[in-house]
Subunit: 274 residues, 2 copies
Amino acid sequence: MASAHPSQSDLSPEDPRAPADATGAESPALLPPTPAFSPLYQQIKSLILRSLQAGEWKPGDMIPSEFDLAARFRVSQGTVRKAIDELATDNLLVRRQGKGTFVATHAEQHIQYRFLRVLPDASAPEAQVPAERRIIECRRLRGPAEVARQLDLKGGDSLVQVRRVLSFSGTPAILEDIWLPGAPFKGLSLETLSSDKGPMYALFEAQFGVRMVRATEKIKAVAADADAAALLGVEVGHPLLSVERLAYTYNDVPMELRRGLYRTETRHYHNELN
Amino acid sequence: MASAHPSQSDLSPEDPRAPADATGAESPALLPPTPAFSPLYQQIKSLILRSLQAGEWKPGDMIPSEFDLAARFRVSQGTVRKAIDELATDNLLVRRQGKGTFVATHAEQHIQYRFLRVLPDASAPEAQVPAERRIIECRRLRGPAEVARQLDLKGGDSLVQVRRVLSFSGTPAILEDIWLPGAPFKGLSLETLSSDKGPMYALFEAQFGVRMVRATEKIKAVAADADAAALLGVEVGHPLLSVERLAYTYNDVPMELRRGLYRTETRHYHNELN
DNA sequence: AAGTGGTCTAGACCACAAC
DNA sequence: TTGTGGTCTAGACCACTTG
């Protein structure tokens, strides 16, 4: 690269055109005061992201080395590095010194369910005994309006609903209702789910090519209704933690709505603030 | 700097000796497999951190420019930059392009209580009406053993306890009990607290030089007892969100234990997962 | 115009893993 | 030994803010 600083839109390596706005979650859609400047490494970042979405590299795969990518995009290694840095802090990529950079995966997330924030009260940080999972039902339906809205679907679109109970050492602890868009999850059945061991999100990756990337949660305290009380083994009215999660794939596309009811007599939802 | 890579412990700029282990939250205290290697920028990071703790730069102050710090520590600007980058993502420093780098502060945190994760259900991300605060009591006592333990105090040490209620548009919403170590907060009184407007953590900074840097929270669903029910205007047994927060200053020193009971009929605790 | 953070480059060398 | 990520440097130029 001849000039030290390719002053915007100098990018034309192997990909047709660089998007003016890279991150996608930035511009407030109202009169950008700056004419949409985005640094090179952001453009590289979104090119890499595009390859991830397109499935060029699959979860668990090693992506090309920093130097290879630098050559491919015709930028310096440091610029690629900064792009990868951000993708790594977003948990889309995982760096392993001496080995390479890999596409993150929910499988082999060595020790934990990526999005499950529950810990036993006597919190030895380990000792996280694996949960026993029991699928109660899995059915297809035309979804409730509110669910459809949150998943960016039309009112009449098909949905999959899954209900399951998680138990710790025999005692029921969490009741979950999960809604998924029908189209991407065609073929998901009670048998598939029941026979699977390992995180559900790992199954989504392997079977349906859907990778959950981030999520938001709304947490409330609610009273157990008759249904929940029966399934969780508590009295009606018992306080339960309601955790409503919206999980997203790449590009901020919502792909799962999940409502969990947690018994919190001997465990808690753990959160780190900074 | 003559050699391109000062191979460990070449650091002797204006500070006597660089600590072998920089971050403090890393080594498991058990047979370090590597002989405690820590990169230069980590050492710079902890030198800057030390200056922050020592009060060399106070909350809101501008710290020296990257080049000044580079000269002072006798490293390159890029190395200082990486150190500052990490401190900025930890929310200890705030970068402002064109102006400088500033010590973060809970005052003028333009729009939000830094650690309060509560949002109204109909979540227009703004419209966060300011809460009305009412201090119910502020007293000194010899602390309960469990509280003392979490604050790393002896059983007999003095504590300050504060109880207050937060309301939104006239309706009580949050009941908080706050425990603080007596020594650093000598002089804290009901009057001080009541006459203050603005975040409590801003007052802690300004009056007591204690800056809260991070926190952990344990969240549960509980039933309102008589006390809480009366103060929050709900019936006994009403489900409440219990949020137990341990807040830390620099160096992972716990400085506040806070237990909040939240009414969540029309609002929720919001969390982002990635 | 001067000062500060932000981006980008090119090249050197270190640490780690695998062959 | 080789390849990969990780650190460090020195220098250039861009973008933003202030006088």
